[in-house]
């Protein structure tokens, strides 16, 4: 009975409203359809692949506006770095883009080496290139396979994660760790490539292309996948540049900017590789560009491994590079250097340096201001996804919720790097 009363009341309101605006049918229902729903996407949502929130205004299934909230895992790395000696900051860089930590680690070492004026021997540079390209492949594999999961294809994800596991085994051989690698040292690598590491690398270089081909044949021309990603979240080259896009996201929009080619570091100029570019910067282009970059990274690794020079794996820079343990036990100088390095009593030159490397998702820059002390005076990380993620609301508005998820995962936003 009460329900009927309420319904009668509603009908009465509708009739009154209709009487006020003659000629319009059911005005109240029209107003209802204009009402927006607020939807919290995140902060902890399996489809955001990280801790960040988007408050979306939805009109039915369409996104009208989005407000990103970030900072959920902010750990004040820039402030912490002002109190840590240079070699301790490496562990902070691991935790930024944790899908490709070796790139962050080695990029940081290169920044410090640039400040100190240390020249790293060729062999160490080539080993670094191999490790950084492995990290790029691991990063792209995660991004692309997760994009598959978000469009409903779980098989590819599990399949390539086996290969990522093998990359992590190679990391383990080289530095002893898997995810937060702390790889390399200022002045070179902490150890030489072991025969086991080389064997594992060679075996992986044989087995991985087969898997990658299968992964590509599963997705690249797949009708279902293409319907989900082609023309979803496109961004023009001008917009992408204005938003500070770098890396595969920028190249998918058609700009061939790659730090490895434009400002070569760590002997990238020795290798031959192509820079794949897309045309309209949509999700499909980003996916294809990443896949192609994996092939180019394989090319670089093959070249580096075949031409791996003989020689030392670290610079002769005893002020900065830790001596080996046996040496510390038997030589006075080594003991002194060991002590001074560990206690952080080595002074750095006064100066400022900006060094950029091509990270997994864009230009990863380190701006280091040194006042001559044991710690940086100021250290600023140019985190690529912090800068390009601000374009996300613009890319997501007007699409449906399921498209917004796909756009987000194709942008390769890593929460650790976003929040630093």
């Amino acid at each position: 009975m009460a329900v009927n009363d309420a319904l009668a009341g509603t009908h009465k309101i509708q009739e009154e409203a209709a009487a006020q605006r003659p000629g319009q049918l059911m005005p109240i229902l029209n107003d209802f359809s204009q009402e927006l729903t607020t939807l919290n996407l995140g902060p902890t949502h399996p489809a955001t692949h990280g801790i960040f929130q988007n408050i979306l205004q939805m009109d039915g299934e369409r996104i009208v506006s989005g407000v990103p909230t970030i900072g959920y895992i902010h750990r004040a790395f820039e402030k912490l770095a002002e109190r840590k000696p240079f070699y301790q900051i490496t562990t902070l860089t691991d935790r930024m883009n944790y899908c490709s930590s070796p790139i962050n680690n080695l990029g940081w070492h290169m920044t410090v080496e640039k400040l100190l004026g240390v020249t790293v021997p060729k062999r160490a540079q080539y080993i670094r290139v191999i490790m950084m390209e492995l990290a790029r492949i691991a990063d792209h594999l995660i991004c692309n396979s997760i994009l598959g999961v978000d469009t409903g294809a779980f098989t590819g994800f599990l399949y390539v994660f086996q290969e990522r596991e093998k990359i992590y085994e190679i990391y383990e051989e080289v530095c002893g760790a898997r995810l937060t690698t702390n790889m390399g040292r200022v002045g070179g690598m902490e150890r030489d490539l072991s025969p086991v590491a080389i064997d594992k690398l060679r075996a992986w270089l044989k087995s991985f292309p087969v898997v990658m081909k299968e992964f590509e044949s599963m997705f690249n021309r797949n009708r279902i996948f293409m319907d989900r990603v082609v023309n979803v979240g496109p961004i023009s080259a001008e917009k992408a540049l204005s938003y500070g896009f770098t890396g595969p996201n920028l190249r998918a929009a058609g700009v061939d900017y790659d730090v490895r080619a434009m400002n070569p570091y760590s002997s990238y100029e020795d290798f031959e590789f192509d820079i794949p570019v897309g045309t309209n910067g949509d999700t499909y282009d980003r996916f294809i560009v990443r896949n192609e970059e994996i092939w180019q990274s394989l090319r670089i690794i093959n070249q580096a491994l075949d031409r791996l020079p003989e020689g030392p794996y670290h610079a002769d820079a005893p002020h900065y590079y830790l001596p080996t343990k046996p040496e510390v036990y038997k030589s006075m100088e080594a003991l002194i250097y060991h002590f001074k390095i560990v206690m952080g009593e080595i002074d750095a030159p006064v100066g400022e340096v900006y060094h950029a490397v091509e990270g997994g998702n864009g230009e990863l820059g380190f701006y280091l201001v040194s006042d001559g002390g044991r710690t940086p005076y100021r250290l600023h990380f140019r985190r690529p996804c912090f800068i390009y993620y601000q374009a996300y609301p613009e890319m997501a508005v007007g699409t449906t919720l399921s498209d917004a998820i796909v756009i987000l995962s194709s942008m390769n936003v890593i929460a650790g790097e976003l929040d630093a």
Partner: protein, 186 residues
């Protein structure tokens, strides 16, 4: 000179000639466009042309560089704040890194201003990317960007009432004694 000394020579590596020539060319253009007295403290640490200017002119300069047909500084690489508490009247600073992708030239511009009046024009009308970078600088250094559409804290909580990257806030509690080291002064 022992090999050790050679390896740790703290001097900046000598910039290669093409970089030097390129920087000289950019500097000539800068002085032609904006006047020679606009820039102070011009130097090239590690090959990257660095110049200091004033906050009154920074917006005009960066807009001019962006529109310049020769150099086309279309890319704002990054910007960050910095704090020098011992420089009276110039305690706070903003450091801009610009990149010309067509000519592959990087340029670093700096401005300094008093902490009592940390007001700087926004670059959000020139680069979309400046939005969050400026919010970050506001969040950590309290730099106020006039004309910014949405100047709110970005990484820290909204109700934080200080600017944590300023040097007056040490990372660790200064009154702690358990970490005092008489020999190494920490």
């Amino acid at each position: 000179m022992t090999p050790q000394d050679a390896a740790v020579a703290p001097e900046a590596p000598v910039a290669e000639d093409p970089i030097k020539a390129q920087n000289a060319q950019v500097l000539a253009l800068l002085t032609r466009l904006f006047g020679a007295d606009t820039f102070t403290d011009v130097h090239e640490p590690y090959g990257l042309l660095t110049a200091t200017t004033t906050r009154e002119r920074i917006h005009e300069i960066i807009a001019g560089l962006q529109q310049d047909q020769e150099l086309k500084f279309h890319f704002l690489t990054t910007m960050c704040g910095i704090n020098y508490p011992e420089n009276p009247g110039q305690e706070l600073g903003m450091i801009y890194h610009l990149h010309s992708l067509t000519k592959n030239i990087r340029l670093r511009l700096k401005i300094f201003f008093p902490v009592a009046e940390p007001v700087v024009p926004t670059l959000t009308d020139l680069y979309n990317a400046a939005n969050w970078m400026e919010r970050e600088a506001y969040d950590f250094y309290g730099v106020i960007f006039t004309g910014h559409p949405n100047l709110l804290r970005i990484l820290n909580v909204e109700d934080m009432d200080y600017f944590p990257m300023r040097k007056q806030y040490p990372v660790e509690d200064g009154t702690r004694e358990d970490k005092t080291d008489l020999f190494f002064g920490r």
